[in-house]
Symmetry: C2
Subunit: 265 residues, 2 copies
């Protein structure tokens, strides 16, 4: 079981930022990745539909014998994680708890800005998890739906992106946030532009990196770390395949994705 | 058969701009609308997937006894229309021929700009249909993938939208286009901002209005116009339902959409 692959899924290819972070921390793990590109995005859809799609995604990965499942999608974690954990036997890890822990790792964090898809913000999953852990936090959560298509277009420092960042972030900066949580797996690509955009002293927390650390801790605790010495293999399955998805995969993974398989759920 | 409803489908709710135009021209027709909101958008997906989804959409409408099907989605028309027309007995009308005819209605039209989804541009369906009909045309087709999410966000005159329009349109304006074809059913909402943006003398052609006229002509020719005197009924079916989709439906239709039904395909 230890040498079985890790399963990781997302609504599309954004979750490859999590894959990349996991590969850096756990280089000998085999990974089976599923991106539901035929139905991407999940972020604007209803909780009911997101749950149905997420169950189908997990069943696909379980059929491939994975030892644990990482939900590398904030929207799916926000709406489906409890129902997935209830239904299946393998450990299922979402991106929200790791993000929340990383925010609170700074004992001075007090005024937290959160940007995410509409679905994630509306679920109140981050707001709830943060409020449960530390009293007196001041939370500003804003849906930032344009950032996903802007990142996919590779318009990272286009005037259109800067104008969108002003609209989304200026109100929370005016209210003096000390931490900005990037609660969507597409957003790590915006980190360079955000470092310029944000005033000094605002800490950036991104859910991809923090999730990878959480996966490592969980696998260690559960005694499920791979014992193999060779570098792990990565298998990428997408429900739709196009030049654009291949191109995006390369950017999110920061290297060639190898052969991508098209699958039906 | 004449009094059977018209079936109209789109990947999402953008096709309601076509519904609105059809209702204005043919007020006594009953309409059954299907928006595949669970899998929207189609514009960034592969031809194979777009065809598969389009066949499922048409079968849903045929099961509801429609007399004809309007493909109110440029991407689906571009990739699936011939295969739909081959497979099914009822007349199936796309948005591309009407758009092409409207462009060429001006005998002076010579330098044509086309904006559309990546899928529509890549299909070369508009470019091919235009080039077949008039020799010597100079065509500039540009994918404008950000415009759909910007319209959905209601950022019609946001700086982000203006910056995107500059990136998409400045190169074709520099090359002296005389006509701009809006080849996506989301774009009619941008007409007011585009009228300000474009220099005088550039003609705007939108596929929603021109498609409605084509539907009227086709129904007349086929002797399929409704004989009812009462105002037609509109039934809206969506494969996913959320506040955002209801809200968008109201904006695209320019009035209350009534009760929307959630359906599975």
């Amino acid at each position: 079981m230890r040498n079985a692959p890790l399963g990781i899924f997302d609504s599309g290819v954004g979750g490859l930022t999590v894959v990349r972070a996991v590969q850096q921390l756990l280089p000998s793990e085999d990974i089976v990745y599923l991106g539901d590109t035929a139905r991407v995005p999940y972020g604007s859809k209803s909780p009911e539909t997101i749950r149905q799609f997420s169950h189908e995604d997990v069943r696909f990965l379980l059929d491939r014998g994975v030892k644990t499942v990482v939900v590398a999608c904030n929207t799916a974690t926000a709406h489906a994680l409890p129902s997935l954990q209830e239904r299946y036997q393998v450990p299922i890890i979402g991106v929200i708890e790791p993000g929340v822990e990383a925010v609170l790792a700074d004992p001075g964090a007090q005024r937290i800005g959160i940007i995410a898809t509409r679905g994630t913000v509306r679920s109140h999953a981050y707001q709830h998890a943060l409020a449960l852990r530390r009293t007196g936090l001041i939370l500003h959560a804003t849906p930032a739906p344009l950032l996903v298509p802007l990142v996919e277009e590779d318009w990272l420092d286009h005037p259109s992106t800067l104008a969108a960042l002003h609209t989304y972030l200026d109100p929370m900066l005016d209210r003096g946030i000390d931490t900005l949580l990037l609660a969507c797996t597409h957003y790590p690509l915006l980190i360079p532009v955000l470092r310029h955009f944000l005033p000094e002293g605002v800490r950036l927390v991104d859910s991809a990196t923090t999730c990878a650390e959480h996966v490592k801790n969980d696998l260690t605790k559960l005694d499920l770390l791979s014992e193999k010495a060779d570098p792990g293999k990565l298998e990428i399955h997408l429900t739709d395949l196009s030049d654009q998805f291949e191109d995006l995969s390369r950017r999110f993974l920061a290297r060639s994705p190898g052969r991508i398989m098209r699958v039906s759920l």
